[in-house]
Amino acid sequence: MPDTVTTQAAATAADTTAGPLLRVEDLKVHFPVLKGVVVQKQVATVKAVDGVSFTLNRGETLGLVGESGCGKSTTGLAILRMLKPTSGRIVFEGEDIARHDKGRMRRVRQRLQMVYQDPYGSLDPRMKVGDIVGEPLVVHGVAGDKAAYRARIAELIRLVGLLPDMAERYPHEFSGGQRQRIGIARALALNPSLIICDEPVSALDVSIQAQVVNLFMELQERLGLAYLFIAHDLSVVRHISNRIAVMYLGRIVEIATRDQLYKEPLHPYTQALMAAVPIPDPVLEATRPQQIITGEVPSALRPPPGCRFHPRCPHATATCKTEDPPLRDRSGGRAVACHLHA
């Protein structure tokens, strides 16, 4: 059977090559905090995502890292339009989808898919694996006749490294790593150009993570996929990403290519994150300077004034306490939001 997945992906890559695949401009996702039972009054706003901008090219992986509450998952959900953006533009394949209604999003979603963190919670336990993988085809009315549908499911299951006869089995018969492969097969069913992956390997055992990371990279090479790879594990993100954006309290504080970011992190928060990650080498760890920053991420309900990182920043000056640093472009395509690098 010809590899239809590859050819289709190549064809679509050819017809819209101008511009980045995804351009997010000043995206804001704010949640109202309501009080009252009968008459509800908005008493505060959680600015989960507060002015995020980035681009993602075809076939590229952009890592989105940060600690809990930084807004990385909310950014992903807003791009998928599973959450309503408060403002901003989300230009996907040349089309601003930020205000699309359900019907128009349905069409877009064929090209924009998602892989979830929890391989146990994201598969319907009552459905056979083949039907899980094939469901997007049915939902979008592209399943074709029975033979074509079956063949496509078999192809997808093989593509993620499982055996076609596994289509007749149920999710509980599979391990966490295999379930994640099933989730990936489902995401690939409609030939997307972008997959948003939210912590796709963090629930997996260490020895299985590498299998799934390698699968993501192989699929990218074969199908020309782009990934927005949301994760907290800086070692995994470094391995898989071409470029990386670091988020803190709803903002991107630094965005750079992988080598720039890991060789020379500029933002003090990026530096702190790197220093906090232990390297599996006791000899190296014994000599590595241990600069551990103090404090925890403040509540997004009351972000600090000025630079949001200043209460934890070892280099904070008077300016940092009052003035919010914008994300400024620097040479080499990187950008930093820090007064120290103005």
Partner: protein, 341 residues
């Protein structure tokens, strides 16, 4: 075969608690669970020592038996379905498995303390933090509540909780995740334990907070010359904090060595596989990771021989038929593998 693995680690069997004996000696520990699929051996003939002041990491993936080993030491295995079938847990020369329930309760939270992964579910939501941190002093040291509260304040400050005095009357939900884990550490330190067992103490925390908590735990145990058993799946954490490492797979110890030996000269194919499969912050980029193929072992259906044999590139017929004993490769380095690698 139990005898073989025991001999390799114990020979000669130490006399009861001379001054230089290890603080904790686990010998041939077997813990089983009754499940729908039959009896599962979660910990299978596990033996290891923890010296005074030493940090020993127990590393393994889910189902490797690392947490059950820790819970067995403190006799916290729910029975039924669990049961400690055999073995010895010699703590300061006394076999904890032979003590009465009351005697074990007098040790828990006193000379052996435990820190769990999820601080929110280990703290009582209805009691103030001051009461919970003061309780061990009140319970084990018979201190008055006034003294216990003063002790709690001191412990919370030690655990770097800012403004400890005024936070004694707060409840756990008023603390952040990192602060709750500091409370757990303060509780663990309450009675100057000789041994602290920390089961994935930072897995639920953010990276920067994880670094803070582990550094604090290490610093405080060092100051008190306490021993620490650190249970984790993170080989980076092990490299940063452990003196010695026990690697578990399928309920068994597959390798144990001083941390530097384990990382520079791993001898078991599983340990090697783990090292090759993890991306490093300073590793080569653009290179494929080398995963361990196959799936984690099913404890209810373990192979006859070596538990790792189905995933091992170098497995022979012998590996599939016979279980390899834990044997010394050098002074303090042991592996359970037939291959001479």
């Amino acid at each position: 075969m139990a005898v073989v693995s025991e001999q390799t680690l114990t020979a000669p069997r130490p006399a009861p608690a001379p001054a230089k004996a290890p603080l904790l000696q686990v010998r041939d520990l077997v813990t089983t669970f009754r499940t729908d699929r039959g009896k599962v051996v979660a910990v299978d003939r596990v033996s290891f020592d923890v010296a005074r002041g030493e940090t020993v990491a127990i590393v393994g993936e889910s189902g490797s038996g690392k947490s059950v080993t820790a819970l067995s030491i403190l006799r916290l295995i729910p029975n039924p379905p669990g049961r400690i079938e055999q073995g010895e847990v010699l703590f300061d020369g006394r076999d904890l498995l032979k003590l009465s329930d009351a005697e074990v309760r007098a040790i828990r939270g006193n000379s052996i303390a435990m820190i769990f992964q999820e601080p929110m579910s280990s703290l009582n939501p209805a009691l103030t933090v001051g009461m919970q941190v003061g309780e061990p002093a009140n319970l084990h040291r018979k201190a008055s509540w006034a003294t216990a509260f003063a002790r709690a304040k001191e412990l919370l400050s030690k655990a770097a909780i800012p403004d400890a005095g005024s936070r004694l009357n707060s409840y756990p939900h008023q603390y952040s995740g990192g602060m709750r884990q500091r409370v757990m550490i303060a509780m663990a330190l309450a009675c100057d334990p000789k041994l602290i067992i920390a089961d994935e103490p930072t897995t639920a925390l953010d990276v920067t907070v994880q670094a803070q908590i582990l550094a604090l735990l290490k610093q405080l145990t060092r100051e008190a010359n306490s021993s620490l058993i650190l249970i984790t799946h993170d080989l980076g954490v092990v490299a940063r904090y452990a003196d010695r490492v026990v690697v578990m797979y399928g309920g068994r110890i597959v390798e144990t060595a001083p941390a530097i030996d384990l990382y520079t000269k791993p001898r078991h194919p599983y340990t090697r596989g783990l090292m090759a499969s993890i991306p490093r912050l300073d590793g080569d980029t653009g290179q494929r990771l080398v995963p361990i193929e196959g799936q984690p072992p099913d404890l209810a259906n373990l192979p006859k021989g070596c538990a790792f044999a189905p995933r091992c590139q170098s497995a022979t017929d012998r590996c599939r038929q016979e279980r390899p004993p834990l044997e010394a490769v050098s002074d303090r380095h042991y592996k359970a593998c037939f291959l001479d690698a």
